[in-house]
Subunit: 208 residues, 3 copies
């Protein structure tokens, strides 16, 4: 199951755009960046995770670097944040939904990619998670803050569950679009519920 | 047009040395680093952009890692900054000129490299820009500050124009050294003018 | 001489575990991270250096990513730090010893790997050093501080000496386990002595 299916391609492109938009909006809130800085942070947020994936899977050049549609949508997300950032702040729920779509699709499709290339289950889950959260990690490092994904919110764990769910669906014979969409929906639901109910991953036991 | 031309090889090596020197000087001004730290930051500034380029272009091992002349000049720039940093602070105009040579040559030659390897125009301009500004970005992240190139000065935009100009020259039939040097000179001129007249890339519209 | 020798494989796995444990403990001391953050920082500390090595040597996918034993030990080190961090703080000398084993084995085996793949002496020493100190550098950048290895302690220099010593032993005909263990012991001894006597790499001359 790959981005050759039109529906999955569209969801993957939506995710790319949403990651760029969200990454660039985060950057302009945190730091005074010029137009190059905002668009660059947006593009790294959208494309950084997939680049790390393709390094780990020895699948260079990175798929999203070769395909100009991904580059264009990532740049568009960054430019939109630059020019319309103040208006877009009001649409934060809508942007969170788009971002969760990206998280889900990236995790599931990257886990499949690793699996198709012959990597094991552990590696496929790691790669699915890194693809989903890697871009946001790079973004936070670029704007000088400890990555959100390491500190708060439930962001990586839904991605791990989605990636694992996709592999499990395949293992029990649910191939193709149903397995892919089911696993992505699981990731999406956990992410949205965690935002709604403000759920965090556990902190270490004992006094802080 | 590659570094096989002696003149371009010399300019590329000058740029490598200048990036290492400038990167290491920036590091010693900002942080108290030991000799390993200063030389390392200098070498990453000089060689980091080309390494990212060669990852994106699937052209590993990185060209500047294989060629010991680049490693030696990058180390020499770092050592010079360590031992003579205080004297060199007085030569900042001269170092800015060397650094702008590096910016121009890296942008133009990397765009050609991408083009020669069969990548499209968009990818070639991205790679030219990343090669030119990537090292400085890594340097700033290593010393704990938000990368200058994202925030202030005109640094990435001349690189984009130089990379684009080189591809345009090729497209209209100006091959070889004239096209290369012309595009690099364009990048160099914009960079030096922006320093002279303190020109910045635009910030987002509205109140800060 | 590679990790095919059982003794070296065991030392390499001990080093991986120690790097993950030490990296995760450093992270929980410095920042309030959730369980995903602590384990992630531990795994990046343990596996980051080897990943950079395998990028530079064009030896992708990274060896420690393919081998699930390395992934499991790195995750175990991170989980142990998460659950037992407060107890482990009392074992800092023991953890420093394990960490120095990792430093030594990573430097020596990575220099051999570069050499076996046909890279020169300079490249082999650089790769040995980067493998040994790269993980800790990534860890510090992730938790928002200037990398320790650039600022203080004697950490990279023992690694360079160990890597160089391993190549020298090979060059004078001391092949196999004796050369490997001798070079690693040299690195280990310098590292432990520098901790014991609080030795730092030189800072630049003149007033600070």
């Amino acid at each position: 199951m790959s981005t050759e299916t039109p529906l999955l391609l569209v969801l993957d492109l939506i995710g790319t755009f949403a990651f760029a938009l969200n990454g660039a909006l985060t950057a302009v809130r945190a730091e005074r960046l010029d137009i190059f800085g905002v668009v660059t942070v947006g593009m790294f947020t959208a494309l950084g995770g997939g680049t790390i994936r393709d390094i780990l899977l020895d699948s260079l050049p990175p798929a999203t670097f070769v395909d100009v549609r991904y580059l264009a949508l990532a740049a568009a997300g960054g430019l939109l944040a630059f020019f319309l950032g103040r208006l877009l702040e009001r649409l934060s729920t809508f942007i969170n939904v788009l971002d969760a779509i990206g998280l889900s699709v990236f995790a599931v499709l990257s886990a499949y990619k690793a699996s198709t290339l012959g990597f094991g289950v552990v590696q496929a889950i790691i790669v699915g998670t890194i693809t989903a959260v890697g871009g946001g990690t790079i973004r936070d490092i670029m704007i000088g803050r400890v990555p959100t994904v390491l500190r708060t919110e439930l962001y990586a764990i839904p991605a791990m569950i989605g990636a694992g769910g996709a592999l499990a669906a395949n293992a029990v014979g649910v191939h193709g679009l149903p397995g892919t969409l089911g696993a992505a929906a699981l990731c999406f639901a956990i992410r949205m519920l965690s935002l709604r109910f403000n759920i965090h991953a556990p902190y270490r036991p004992g006094p802080p």
